[in-house]
Structures are given as C-alpha cells and as structure tokens.
C-alpha cells in the first residue's frame, strides 16, 4: 500500500521562559547562557498512514493532539524527526479558524482553495457544490464575522470536504452544528474515506472515532501510549479518564411544569385540527416517494400530554400521524424511523411491524395513526422521519414509498437522575432477563474442574 503520511521520530520542543525578556537576554548573551526550560510537547511519534485509512487521535487536553496536527499541516516547525506527506491537505483545525472574519464567505472559500493550491477557475467549479453543501443561503456574500457559529462551521466543513483532499485533518469538528448537520457531516466523512482520502480525526466523541476509524493513537504527555485498533485505544483511554472525571450525565433541560396540552382522556383519538394545530412537519420540507399518499401532519406528545421533543430515557413519546391517500392504496404501513447523530438508522417501526393492519383507503380518504415508542435508547439527540409505504399496486410484492419526510426533530432523550442507576449501557436496551441461584462453594485456590 501507498504511504500517504509518514512520521518518523517526530518531536516538538518548546522553550519556556520565566520572563519574556529572558528570550532577548539569551539571544544577546555573549557566552550563550541558557535562560529557558525545555518542554517537549511531543516526542518519538512514529507512524505511517496508508491511502484511505482513517486514524483517530485520543488523549486528554494538553497531550499534544493539536500540536501533532499542526505539525502535519506544516504550520509549526518540527524540532526533530521527519514528516512526509503526499498530496493536498485539507485541515479543519478548531472549526475553520483559517477563515478571515472580515471577508465574505465566498472570498474565504476562494482563499481556502488558493492555500490548498487550487486556481480561481478550479474553485469556481467547486463553488456551487460548496455553497449547496453549506446551505447558508445568501449569507455566502456576507462577511463571516456576522455568521452564527453554526453557519461558520457549516461553511468551513463544506469547504474542507469538497475540495477533494488527499489528506483530511479534522480537529473536534465532528460534534458541532445541529443533529441534522452532524448526520450529514458523518456521512460525508465516511464517503470521503471510502473514496480513498486519508483521514486524521481528533475527537472527544469516542463513538464517532469508533465508527469512523480503523486505527487510533493514544497520546499521553506527548508520547504514544498506544497505537492499534481503535476499540482497544478507546478502552484504554476511557479507563484512564473515568478515574478522574465525574459520572457523565446528560442533564435534562429544566422540565416545564406546564399544564398538559391534551387531557389524557382525549389522547386515544385525535382530530385533524388537533394535529394540524401542533404540526411538527414544516411547510416546505423535502418529500420523497411516489405521491400516492401525503403525510399531511404529525404531532408528538409525551407521557404527560405535552407537545415536546424532550423525553426521559425509558419513557414514551406518542406520534400521531395524519395521512391522506391521493389514489386508492392498499396494505399501507405508516412508520416512524429514528436516526442517531451519526446517521445510524436506530429504529424503524410502523403498524405492519406492530402487527396492526390498516384498512384500504380510497382517493381523498384521510387516516390518523398513533404510534407509541418507548425510548429505551441512550441519552442523546435523535432525528426522526415518517414514511407511508405499501405495495405498488394491489397484491404486488414490491414495496414502495408513497411519501416520506426526514430530518424531523431533534428528539432529545435525557437521563436526569444521576443518583439512580442507568437502566442499561450502550446504544439501546434489548429485551433481557436475569436469573440466579446459589451453588456449592469453590475454595479459593482450589482447582476448577
């Protein structure tokens, strides 16, 4: 395999001066007296990356991750060792800070391209893709200083990934933006890696690293403590971190003691007006599907009858989905799909999966479907989609989407009681049971048959 990045014995030394003027004194001292203390930010870093490989960098704050990235980019000067890179490097160091706040988004994209060695004409071609990806509308011609953090990150990310780099360096840029952008950026990075780009990722988001990378390096005080499989690296890292930090808790936003929007007895059936007055589907949402049906509206209630996307872990949200048939349809399945922030399809279930058969509908007929989902998933943000599907015609085997909307939500699943035990670990709670019985004692040191 082709080596794209190759580091040999890389080290970075900083001279620490007790007082600023010591630097000058040292420079001018006739006998070359030393006034500084030496601090090695990195030492003995050696690894190779092949084409299309994704590697994660793990380590606590100050372990040298960002310094290493800056060295690979060529921004900092090496003290010892060699770094070889082949191909264009695109770097997202701390959220595209290479942008000049006074310039318009468009000018920044051009300049970014120029730094990477693209000509104006080449960038002109990529411009449409980048603007389309960033999806910030007319703000592209405004100075980036007026951008919101989200817009800034979107543009920086769009810029970094759409210039077809050979090496992509991402520093903590994964967990930014809303969940929809996170899902999009995850997919893009996955595609880029598949397309043969070598990727170096720094993130405190361990799950992201687990998904994206195949290898990882654990840095401790500037040295490589481990290099190898990302799973092993994450295990070592999280083991060392857990001792020092308090239990990670996803605190719920202050739960409002609002009066329920809907009284409990009213909940089984919901009228069209009731749904439409709290419709969660925005007007101009992109729709996919044959058009034989239209998902007109949906309403999401929690256990207490509040219109909310916040739900405590292990509790239930109720989805009311109002659908109209535009032509006669048969054997319809109305389904809710849930995606996590990496775009993983976590769950999808509708009436068919629940064993509930809906009547055939004639053109113009509307139906309300209620789906209760217990959120036995990890505390995180999820997006959801709604789909109405069924056989292409009566008796057909092929199932097609009549209508589908995505990117709804986000649903925030929270876990707000640090004193109580978590109901499970991992992504989702699978149905499980535990039993036990006491058996005869085995003496310590005795042979186990």
């Amino acid at each position: 395999m082709e080596k794209i990045v190759s580091l040999k014995g890389v080290g970075k030394k900083y001279k620490i001066y007790a007082r600023p003027h010591h630097r000058l004194k040292e420079l001018l001292h006739p006998h070359g007296k030393q006034y500084h203390n030496v601090f090695w930010a990195l030492r003995n870093i050696t690894f190779d990356l092949e084409r299309g490989e994704a590697i994660g960098l793990l380590g606590r704050n100050g372990s040298g991750k960002s310094t290493l990235l800056q060295l690979i980019c060529g921004i900092l000067r090496l003290t010892e060792g060699t770094i070889e890179t082949h191909g264009r490097i695109s770097a997202l160091l701390e959220l595209g800070a290479g942008f000049n706040p006074e310039f318009t988004g468009r000018a920044n994209v051009f300049m970014n391209g120029a730094i990477m060695g693209y000509t104006m004409e080449e960038m002109e071609e990529k411009m449409q893709t980048i603007i389309g990806y960033a999806d910030i509308g007319d703000f592209i011609d405004q100075p980036t200083k007026i951008y919101s953090t989200g817009m800034y990150v979107r543009l920086a990310f769009a810029c970094a990934v759409n210039v077809k780099p050979e090496i992509l360096i991402i520093d903590e840029a994964l967990s930014v933006g809303d969940i929809f952008f996170q899902q999009k950026s995850f997919n893009t990075i996955k595609e880029i890696i598949k397309g043969g780009t070598t990727c170096i990722v720094v993130s405190h988001d361990l799950e992201a690293l687990r998904t994206l990378c195949t290898r990882a390096i654990l840095l401790e005080r500037g040295e490589m403590a481990y290099i190898g499989s990302q799973v092993e690296a994450i295990n070592i890292y999280s083991h060392s971190v857990k001792r020092t930090k308090t239990a990670p808790v996803f605190i719920a936003p202050s739960s409002s003691p609002d009066a329920p929007h809907v009284s409990p007895e009213n909940r089984a059936l919901m009228s069209t007006d009731e749904i439409m007055s709290h419709n969660v589907i925005v007007k101009d949402i992109r729709r996919f599907g044959s058009g034989a049906m239209t998902i007109i509206g949906a309403r999401v209630l929690n256990r207490d009858g509040l219109d909310t996307f916040h739900v405590t872990m292990m509790e239930t949200l109720t989805f009311y989905i109002l659908v109209r048939a535009n032509e006669p349809v048969y054997d319809v399945n109305i389904m809710v799909s849930i995606y996590d922030r990496m775009g993983t399809f976590v769950f999808g279930g509708g009436n068919r999966e629940a064993g509930h058969i809906l009547p055939d509908l004639t053109a113009g007929q509307c139906i309300v479907v209620r789906i209760d989902i217990k959120f036995s998933v990890k505390p995180e943000e999820f997006s959801f989609g709604l789909v109405a599907k069924g056989p292409a015609h009566k008796g057909a085997d092929t199932i097609i989407s009549h209508d589908r909307v995505e990117m709804l939500g986000p649903i925030a699943v929270t876990f707000s009681h640090p004193e109580t035990m978590k109901p499970f670990h991992g992504i989702a709670r699978l149905p499980f049971e535990v039993q036990h019985s006491l058996v005869s004692n085995i003496p310590a040191g005795g042979n186990i048959p």
Partner: protein, 288 residues
C-alpha cells in the same frame, strides 16, 4: 482593480529583473501571481475596513494630508515666516510641502501599520498554511492605492492650477516604485521581528518621528548647514522627497546618483527583509 493589476505586473516585471540576483525573488513573484486573488481580497479588505462606515469614505485619503499640510503651512509660512528660496521651484509653500509630505505619509504609514499586521492576523497564521508574506505586501498595496488616489485628486488639481506639468513627471512612477521597493523590505523586516520582539512597535514610533524631521520635508535641504548636509545624504528618504519634488514641481537638478542609490537600497532592503522574514516564518505560529 486596474491599479492592483498594474501593481502586480510592475512587481512581476521588476522581480523578473532580479532573477539573476536571486531565484527566490522570482519564486516569490510567482507566488504573488498565483495568490493574486488572495492579495486582491486582502487589499480590498484593508481599504474597506478603513472607509466603510464613514460618510465621505475615500476622501479621507485626501483630507488627512491636506489638513497636515495646512497646519504646517500655517506654522512655518505664516507664524515663522519661512520663505522658500528660488531653488524650491515654486513659491507656493502649500504645494511644495504637499509634494514632500505625500511620499512620507505613504512610507511611514506603510511601516507603522505593518508592524502589527502579523499579530492582527494571528488566526490565519496559526490555523492554516497562510502565505503570511502577503500580509505586509497587501497593506503596502492598499496604501499605494491611497497614495495614488491622493495624487489623482490633489496633485492634478494643484498642478493644473499653479503650474504646468513638465516632462519630468515621468520620473514620478519610478520614484513611487523605488519607494515601494524600499518600503516592502522594511515592512517585512519590522513585521517579522515584531513577533519576537514586541517593543518594535514602540521603537518605530520614535524612529519614524525622528526620521520625519531628519528628512527635508518641512524645510529645504539648502537650509541645512553645509557641514551637516553629508548626514542628509545618508537618508534614503531625502532622495525620495527630492525626487517627488523634481517630478511634480519640475525643479531640475542632479538626481541620478540619488536614484541609483535608492535602487540599490531598495534591492538590498527587499532582499534582506524578505530573507529575514523567510527565516523567521516557520516560528511565527509558535510565537503567536
């Protein structure tokens, strides 16, 4: 944008002359050409940041020197009653002063604004592989544009009213270029050193202030005592000011030596400044 492109081709032309001297210079010129869009953005930003939000915008480029000239004229011409000797080429003190002050403002402004240019653009240097040598160049080009605008408005009006233009005006671009060459060298030098030695800015304020009175801008060189004139000849700005007055006011005098000296100094300063900048550049990110 014609001025910028003009400046660029001027740069290309002169740097091509330097190939024999140094390949590095040529490479730099290529980089400038490659990064011309970036340079254009930087210059435009600088101009915009100076004038956006102000009502009369670009006219400030003219008002500043005019007010300075009027102030000095009041002090020297009316209060102290200094009269120009015939070799000044004009008896209009205002016009004469303006011809000396304009290149000085261009030069000193370029240097004083360039001292902090790298620190101001810290984010670009520490977070991306930014060609930082373009930053001082962009400030200078933006000042050059200002300088041109000033000449465009004031110079032409004044000269048309007070005196007919002589063929000597053709020397003006030569002097502007020589001054720019000298200025960019000094700019690279001070901007890179300032990162390691932040007192540079304060020192420069003092130096520039003294240099102003060391240069015959508000006084005539003939007013300087004979035995001190040798000191004057060591001052490159002396030749610049004299050269501007020669081309604008048509005062003919021996200026070839001065021009040659300026050319040599310009080349030395730009190569030395560029060299030091290049040597210090790898450590910029660390020091910022």
């Amino acid at each position: 944008m014609s001025e910028i492109n003009g400046g660029e081709s001027l740069f290309r032309l002169v740097f091509q002359k330097l190939i024999s001297l140094k390949v590095v210079a040529f490479r730099f010129a290529l980089e400038v050409v490659k990064n011309r869009y970036m340079l254009k953005c930087l210059v435009l930003r600088d101009l915009k940041s100076r004038y956006t939000g102000s009502f009369i915008g670009v006219f400030w480029a003219v008002i500043h020197p005019i007010v300075t000239v009027i102030t000095y004229s009041y002090v020297f011409s009316f209060v102290m009653k200094i009269r120009l000797t015939p070799d000044a080429g004009t008896n209009n003190f205002l016009l004469w002063l303006l011809c000396g002050l304009a290149p000085w403002i261009y030069f000193s402004d370029t240097i004083l604004r360039n001292v902090n240019v790298l620190i101001d653009n810290k984010m670009l240097i520490t977070k991306s592989l930014f060609p930082s040598e373009l930053l001082p160049l962009s400030i200078m080009l933006s000042n050059l544009l200002n300088h041109m605008i000033m000449f465009g408005i004031v110079g032409i009006v004044a000269i048309v009213i007070y005196k007919k233009i002589t063929i000597l005006i053709l020397y003006l671009p030569v002097y502007i270029f020589l001054l720019s060459l000298f200025g960019i060298g000094i700019s690279w030098l001070v901007s890179s050193i300032n990162i390691f030695f932040r007192d540079m800015g304060q020192i420069l304020v003092v130096v520039i202030n003294m240099w102003f009175f060391y240069t015959p801008i508000v006084y005539q060189s003939s007013m300087v005592p004979e035995n001190l004139r040798v000191l004057l000849r060591l001052n490159p700005m002396y030749y610049v000011v004299e050269g501007y007055r020669l081309s604008l006011l048509g005062i003919e005098h021996q200026h070839w030596k001065g021009m040659l000296l300026l050319l040599v100094l310009g080349i030395i300063s730009s190569i030395a400044g560029g060299f030091i900048f290049k040597r210090l550049k790898p450590d910029f990110a660390e020091m910022l």
